[in-house]
């Protein structure tokens, strides 16, 4: 009896400590930034919090000075276009690598694994020169192509892991019943693998919203590119407008954070499956 009480009280203490640590370490900095983004400029470093003085002025300023509306629209379009390439091709490639044994399967697997290892930054010089030779600098299509190429290795890896975990009996039965092979992929595998495709979709969209370095190298026109370029523009041109910068960083984070909060399961399964199952 006494030990039971003892253990419970100790667990409560750990719980308390965990909550305290997490709230001060992770939540408070974010809350402070959100509060500052809502307060007038003169309160930037003061500790007064007066909800009646809250204003959207900072957001309006960030919107205009960072061209954030235009950047948000173009990032969304780029993310959707990237998904339109990554999802179907990642899915069929993952399927082929999971279900078929063919000559060259090892090298293909190695290629995708190897591409995961080589970071985009290392290839950026070559990519820049290639797209500039094709006269595709400052063209959002080049961003879509680059983001697709850099998202595909992980997408293939995740889809392969997901399909490997599905039972293959139904596919074999369908083949014997005379279903065509594309038909099997479309009608049987795809519906079963849909949660995996969802995970890849969330990760791809968030990756585009996170990107900065490639976009800032490739794009020249203000308002066309990714949201982080807008935020960077604010940072370089209005470096002492801290409330405006706070509003800007809140705004470029809203879409990825909302996506994560709504689709937490898919997001986390994608994050973990990629590394642990390999």
């Amino acid at each position: 009896m006494t030990t039971a009480i003892k253990r419970r009280s100790r667990i409560d203490l750990t719980t308390w400590f965990t909550w305290f640590a997490v709230v001060t370490m992770f939540l408070l900095p974010m809350v402070w930034i959100v509060l500052k983004s809502l307060q007038p400029e003169q309160y930037v470093f003061s500790s007064t919090i007066d909800p009646s003085a809250f204003t959207v002025e900072n957001f309006q300023r960030a919107f205009v000075q960072g061209s954030l509306l235009s950047y948000t629209i173009s990032t969304t379009l780029i993310a959707l276009a990237t998904c339109a390439i990554v999802l179907p091709f990642g899915f069929v490639t993952g399927y082929a690598l999971a279900r078929f044994k063919f000559l060259g399967r090892g090298p293909v697997l190695f290629l995708f694994m190897f591409s995961l290892t080589i970071p985009g930054l290392v290839n950026l010089v070559a990519i820049y020169q290639a797209f500039s030779a094709l006269r595709m600098i400052n063209n959002p299509i080049s961003l879509v192509i680059i983001y697709s190429a850099s998202s595909l290795p992980l997408a293939v890896w995740l889809m392969r892991a997901y399909i490997l975990a599905l039972p293959s009996e139904i596919e074999e039965a369908a083949l014997i019943d005379g279903c065509s092979r594309p038909g099997i992929i479309w009608r049987i595998v795809l519906p079963l693998a849909l949660p995996g495709v969802g995970a890849v979709a969330v990760l791809t969209v968030v990756a585009v919203f996170h990107e900065f370095i490639v976009a800032t190298t490739m794009m020249r026109t203000e308002g066309i590119g990714v949201v982080n370029q807008g935020l960077r523009q604010l940072q370089t041109q209005y470096s002492f407008d801290f409330t405006g910068l706070a509003a800007g960083s809140v705004m470029v984070s809203i879409i990825p954070v909302l996506l994560f909060l709504i689709l937490q399961r898919q997001f986390i399964s994608g994050m973990t499956a990629g590394a642990i199952k390999s």
Binding site: I11, T18, F89, Y95, F102, V122, L124, F242, S253, I268
Partner: protein, 296 residues
């Protein structure tokens, strides 16, 4: 499971006889795109690293391994590599350790488990640039955190420590999620047995949990190692590599040479050296995994 799936697909007689083009067809688009990007880019960078390609030069000529010789003698690059090492090892160690502890803490039947987990992962979902920008504000000498810590971004050491801790703040959630996933596969009865034997909680974590999740800790460490070695965006936003060059890492140094000074040849040589570091890290990881597999 995986092996039977492949094996049974093989047993379907239709697929066995002729050389089957279907899987190649499925792989072709993604394989071409990724292959072109990785292999061609690497080849291009490799060739460019042997030239004196520079913004002001009309005629580009091959200069052999001069860029590499220059790199090994470049005090700034060596300094940057040293800072990279400090940065990468600190972030990897702190994030993995704290991610592990938080995962253990959150994994118990705790009130508000889901909310806690979400709070810890949100920083990983915010972009590097936004994270750098708002921590730059938080660390201003007049802002609460900056005031307590004495405005760290004004000094060289302070900037490096700040950079390390901000990057940890971002990546702890990643480490925690990975460890959490592997904790959930541990057999509960192992703890029951230890509890019957009267082992205290922290001993169980040390003797049971830690060895069981150590493969995952290895995966997390390698991913953080590689990720942080190639990180530039958060540095650009938080410190810009400064003061002077106090937070200029290898990756940022390479970026500056390639895209600010347009020393394409020299930048490419550094890029190739960076890929070597990446590939060695990944190779080491695969070797460790294999060794582990052979043990079990």
């Amino acid at each position: 499971m995986a092996i039977t799936a492949i094996g049974s697909a093989e047993n379907v007689p239709l697929r066995r006889k002729r050389a089957d083009l279907f899987p190649y067809l499925l792989i072709l688009p993604a394989g071409l795109l990724v292959g072109a990007f990785t292999v061609l880019s690497l080849m291009f960078t490799g060739v460019a690293s042997l030239t004196d390609w520079d913004i002001g030069r009309r005629v580009v000529s091959f200069i052999g391994f001069a860029n590499y010789l220059r790199a090994f003698a470049d005090a700034d690059l060596i300094g940057a590599f040293f800072r990279s090492t400090v940065f990468v090892l600190s972030v990897t160690f702190i994030s993995t350790a704290l991610g592990f502890l938080l995962a253990v803490a959150v994994n118990r039947k705790i009130r508000g488990q889901g909310v806690l987990r979400a709070i810890i992962v949100v920083p990983w979902v915010i972009s590097e640039l936004a994270t750098g920008v708002f921590w730059m504000i938080l660390l201003q000498p007049d802002a609460p955190i900056g005031f307590i810590t004495g405005g760290p971004l004004r000094t060289a050491t302070g900037s490096m420590v700040a950079l390390i801790l901000v990057e940890c703040w971002r990546s702890i959630g990643f480490a925690m999620v990975m460890v959490l996933a592997s904790l959930q596969s541990i057999d509960e009865s192992l703890y029951e047995a230890a509890r019957v034997d009267g082992a205290p909680g922290w001993r169980m974590v040390w003797l049971i949990t830690l060895p069981l999740v150590s493969p995952t800790l290895l995966v997390v460490s390698i991913l953080l190692l590689i990720g942080n070695f190639n990180l530039v965006t958060i540095i650009i936003a938080l410190t810009g590599g400064g003061p002077i060059d106090a937070t200029t890492t290898t990756a940022l140094y390479m970026y500056q040479h390639s895209f600010l000074y347009f020393h394409i040849g020299y930048g490419s040589a550094i890029a190739i050296l960076m890929s070597v570091v990446n590939v060695v890290a990944m190779g080491l990881f695969i070797l460790l995994q294999r060794g582990r597999g052979a043990q079990n």
